[in-house]
Amino acid sequence: MALPLKDRVLENNPLFCPTAAPGRRASEDLIPVLPLEAGEQYRFHFDMTKCIGCHCCEVACNEQNNNPADLHWRRVGEIEGGSYPFTQRLYLSMGCNHCLEPSCLQGCPVDAYTKDALTGIVRHDAEACIGCQYCTWNCQYGAPQYNPERGVVGKCDLCHGRLTEGRAPACVAACPEEAIRVEAVRIDEWKNQYVQLGNAPGMPVADKTISTTRITLPDAAPAELKKADYDRVRPEHPHMPLVLMTVLTQLAVGALAAIWACTLLAGSFAGARMAAAVALGVANLALGASTLHLGRPIHAYRALKMWRRSWLSREVLLFSLFAGAAAAYAGSLWFGLPGAALLGAATALAGLAGIAASAYIYRVPARPAWNSGYTVADFYLTAALTGPLLVAAIGPASRVMTLAAVGAAALQLLNQFSKLLWLARSDEFELRASGRLLANDLERLLLARFGLLVAGGMLLPLMGHPAVGLAAALGGELLGRYLFFVSVVPRNMAASFFTGRAA
């Protein structure tokens, strides 16, 4: 048999391995050589067939931006499928996807985001940011990340500063496999292509934000690829100032609206002015508490800026109006001034609208367990339960107030149970995972929440103890809101076995 060894040639023969390009410098063609044309923008291309999961891009990104170790503007995740030995392990590496319609930008109350007109890069201005973290809820890719050390959010800007120098972004330059590149994309073409070319297993399904990252997938992948962090669902951040702020504003709105409605229907009653004063105090406490949620409380006022676009701005605006109206209303009740009925109506209207704005903040597709009518119902029912109870607790126990509270408690109970059923029965991973969290890790808190709701919202008021009932019901609603925050499972890219963001 003729030996194929005869074909062997020596190194100095140029025919040897003609396809190999010796001495090619890395990262030469990893960014576009030509300037962008009109209708184009920059975007990442990630080649899943090349990535070996080495995490170089992540470390290089943190070094480039001097970020602390727990921030990862670029992350590497792992997905696995098939069965031994035909197992498929694949890796994802993702920075920001520089969406065509970025949800981070649309939700931002202070206009800290811009979509760069020249490059299409979604940029974030740390100087403008007040650290409200609303963008971190809006982005389904977890691209914007809050840096508690600095009190602001930050995110991948495609190394804008390096690109303008003609240098590859840090992650691109660091990748030993050339799995990440920057390329130009024709925006109008991409609108028709992103569903096919922008999706990947282990990533949230590209939605109306139209992420621009192009992902090259392996030819044959198993039908089911599981995220490496699939079984590692852990409670999210509780956002305590927001637990306080939402529940207490709802209490105040509920109380003032109840006072107004009651006076309107049955005339003034004993305890109304005291109850209104207390509710006003609670409202101010709540609004004060909300600024503690911000990374940069001193700049809280900036949050009014984007009321035309951002639910968060609208919430701030409406609750500011509410606080003003409530002060006037409580004052007019206290001093018996005329016009109370009108002021009461304005207070109730602003407050109820404020609650709607509050609720709509949480109706973000990236956080499916929040994104439902249950949230709206939850917020209004907290108001309907705790508000009248406050009035009943302060004034002479009124049957109307008690019955209103008991009715709201029953509805809240129904609302919460329906939500649990909805979570448990869902096909969507994040919703089921939320249900799993509540049923397993948070089971005791959930039972306590229901216990307090039944005791404080129904039994105690009916037994004639509205004050104790209020305390219990308020505790129940605070606990419920805590569970609301910690049990949400955000959409996100697959993480590694250990390195999943809390989710």
């Binding site: 992540e58 470390v59 943190n62 480039q64 170790a69 696995e80 809050y146």
Partner: protein, 739 residues
């Protein structure tokens, strides 16, 4: 927190500002140094060129050196964050001497006099060989060279070895047996030029990721990967061979069997450059595809595909690491691999080499210059001629040169248990995590009268046992050279000062010699590593590992040079044995018949699972360094155990359960369970980096009779859900700061 920060003033604006680095462009201002110091990475043996950024006496950044031929600017995640280790907590700062059971700070004078006094005392009472010395693969060559002289001549002990025995001793022994000398014959470039690359027990995507860019560039290759686990590297393969644990000899023999039958061997090469083919062929007769398929668990079809791909290659490269070396049959497996390369003529040509991918940054320097398993310059202890040469070069009486290597590392430990070794000096290694069968190691460390641990870090699990801790400078704080897997010597430079009273290992060795009164005999006129390098160049002259043509200046200019580099040469030699002449007595490479045997501890009803160990890309060895690099530690914060879903179901275990792994020796508790199809049914895998969950509590004391390398892989275990295990991580709150 300061008031300004509470209010939300941007007090950290400066920290997060950006600037322009003349070399690397737009980047965080905090990462722009005053100067870049060229050096070589101190982790693994890939030997990446680096630039260390120094500002105000601190190393604030590192970059891959774009001009270095090994890595062309790339670094792995460990390299990219290497500067953090210098100011990590737990650096050893002062000499510490144990008094009344407690380590107390002492002066260097007191420390060295205690050390030499105790060592000499033990040697006087129990003989010179009662002192054991265990070194490392982490020092610079100049330090290895100095330590070799100090150990062999200064202390005059035979019992001096390195932790490299836990790592690539099998490759060394295998090379020596086949080719007559140690020395990996190929070059990294071969990964780009071979048309078939066969990786055996080598997970380079996790362990040597920067080599992967070579594979990536090689667009017309067939990559064959043999591994019992579906590693990251296996996922890169064109042909994956999911072999049963330790069936690699059967696999390689089976491939040769097929190739001989198919005539896909290089008879001419065999004829001219090897001996022993007839015996080899005879021994391969029984490795029929049917039998090998049974032994390896591969289908015959897969076996044929692998054999034929290899046999038909124009240039075939074989790379291996610990899957081969960590075995009681390690050296012989290397021989089998060499057999395969030799009979197909896949050596000494572009793209063709049987190539041991080494572990530590300077394991090669230790092998060549360290006087551990051979005398400097690959000279043999057993050869009177070699001993005479070394005695002449060192200007010492030839009687002072040992006639055998003495005890290897595992035998030093067992001799300490048996009280034959009475004092021990451990340098830059952490056996309390890295040595197999922890209980034996513990007994050894507790048995010796005096234990000196010289390390850059304290406390480590090993320094905890020490009577004397000597604080040493680490990478970034000292000068010298590292030699990588492809025999490329690169310059290592000092960027910053060591902390407090820590000194370079080089200084420590000279100071010990001074204390012993043999400094003039060993190191006359030496003031720094440059003097050691000059002497090493003379000593290596004319040897296979010839450094005589290298200078520090030339090394820096070329970004490293490959040996042999004789004086007057214009360039180094990329590949050894291009002429087919080997440093054996008859100039021919030897073919050995190698027989497959089952691994020593087979599973049974009580211990039904085969336990495999390995690494992850984020960590280095026992984590004394990488555990302190926050970004790496966060990516891989604790040990895990990989188990096939079928086994987990049978055991009633759920993902993330804390489990205990139990062997006949001991148990490791509270390991987080990863249920995955990455491992085969009946096997489990665990990383060996973690002191907190140390895989070496269950591994066995089984060593390769030739290389003395431990069989870290394949022991029999059972797995149970932890009862009282340390499972604090389960309760750890979600990452609060991210939202």
């Amino acid at each position: 927190m300061k008031a300004g920060q509470l209010l939300g003033l941007d007090t950290l604006r400066e920290k997060y500002a950006y600037g322009y680095d003349p070399e690397f462009g737009y980047t965080a201002a905090g990462k722009i140094p005053d100067r870049w110091v060229e050096t070589t990475c101190g982790y693994c043996s890939v030997g990446c060129g680096m630039l260390a950024g120094v500002k105000d006496g601190r190393m604030i950044a590192v970059r891959g050196n774009p001009k270095h031929p090994v890595n062309e600017g790339k670094l792995c995640p460990k390299g990219l964050s290497e500067h953090y280790i210098l100011e990590a907590k737990g650096r050893a700062q002062y000499p510490l001497l144990r008094e009344n059971g407690k380590l107390r700070r002492v002066s260097w004078g007191v420390a060295l006099s205690a050390m030499c006094g105790k060592f000499r005392g033990v040697q006087e009472r129990f003989g010179a060989d009662a002192l054991g010395i265990v070194s490392t693969g982490q020092l610079v060559t100049e330090e290895f060279y100095a330590l070799g002289k100090l150990a062999r001549i200064g202390f005059g002990t035979k019992n001096y070895c390195g932790n490299t025995t836990l790592c690539m001793a099998s490759a060394v022994s295998g090379y020596k047996r086949t080719f007559g000398s140690d020395g990996p014959p190929g070059a990294y470039e071969d990964l780009e030029k071979a048309d078939v690359i066969f990786l055996i027990g080598a997970n380079i995507a996790d362990n040597h990721p920067i080599l992967c860019q070579r594979l990536e560039r090689n667009t017309n290759k067939t990559l064959i990967v043999a591994d019992p686990r579906v590693t990251k590297t296996a996922m890169m393969a064109d042909l994956f061979l999911p072999v049963k644990p330790r069936s690699d000899i059967a696999l390689v023999n089976g491939m040769m069997h097929i190739l001989i039958r198919a005539g896909l061997i290089d008879r001419d090469y065999i004829e001219r450059h090897t001996t022993g083919f007839a015996e080899l062929k005879e021994s391969l007769g029984k490795y029929t595809p049917e039998r090998v398929a049974q032994t390896t668990g591969l289908s015959e079809e897969r076996l044929y595909r692998a054999a034929l791909a290899y046999g038909r290659a124009k240039a075939a490269f074989i790379g291996w690491t610990m899957g081969v070396n960590h075995s009681t049959k390690g050296a012989e497996t290397v021989n089998a691999i060499n057999n395969l390369a030799l009979i197909t003529g896949n050596i000494g040509r572009v793209g063709a080499a049987p190539f041991s991918i080494t572990g530590q940054c300077n394991a090669m320097g230790s092998r060549e210059a360290g006087a551990t398993s051979s005398l400097p310059g690959y000279r043999k202890f057993e050869s009177a001629e070699d001993r005479g040469e070394i005695a002449h070069l060192w200007n010492v009486p030839v009687e002072k040169i040992p006639t055998s290597r003495g005890l290897a590392y595992p035998d030093i430990i067992e001799a300490a248990v048996g009280k034959k070794i009475r004092a021990l000096w451990i340098i830059a290694t952490n056996p309390a995590v890295s040595y197999p069968n922890y209980d034996v190691l513990k007994q050894a460390l507790e048995s010796v009268e005096f234990l000196v641990v010289q390390d850059g870090f304290h406390p480590t699990p090993t320094t905890e046992f020490a009577h004397l801790v000597l604080p040493a400078a680490i990478w970034g704080e000292k000068e010298g050279t590292f030699t990588n897997s492809e025999r490329r010597c690169s310059k290592v430079n000092k960027a910053v000062d060591p902390p407090a009273e820590a000194r370079t290992d080089f200084d420590i060795f000279l100071a010990v010699a001074r204390e012993l009164g043999c400094e003039d005999e060993l190191f006359a006129g030496w003031t720094g590593p440059r003097d050691a390098f000059a002497e090493w160049r003379r000593v290596s002259k004319g040897r296979l590992c010839d450094y005589s043509g290298m200078t520090y200046e030339a090394l820096e200019e070329h970004g490293g040079m490959q040996w042999p580099f004789p004086e007057g040469a214009a360039r180094g030699v990329k590949r050894l044995y291009e002429d087919g002449r080997f440093p054996t007595a008859d100039g021919r490479a030897r073919l050995y018949p190698i027989e497959w045997e089952p691994h020593p501890e087979q599973p049974n009803a009580e211990y039904p699972l085969v336990f495999n160990t390995g690494r992850t890309v984020e960590h280095w060895h026992t984590r004394t360094k990488t555990a302190k690099v926050a970004i790496l530690e966060a990516m891989s914060p604790r040990a895990w155990l990989e188990m096939n879903p079928g086994d987990a179901k049978r055991l009633g275990l759920k993902p993330h359960d804390p489990v205990d792994v139990i062997s006949r020796r001991s148990r490791v508790s509270g390991v987080e369970l990863r249920i995955t199809e990455i491992v085969a049914p009946g096997q489990v895998f665990m990383p060996f980096h973690y002191e907190e969950a140390n895989s070496n509590r269950v591994t066995q004391s089984a060593f390769d009779p030739i290389s003395r390398e431990p069989n870290f892989k394949q022991c029999a275990v059972r797995v149970e859900r932890s009862k009282s295990a340390h499972t604090a991580w389960r309760q750890m709150p979600a990452r609060m700061e991210a939202k």
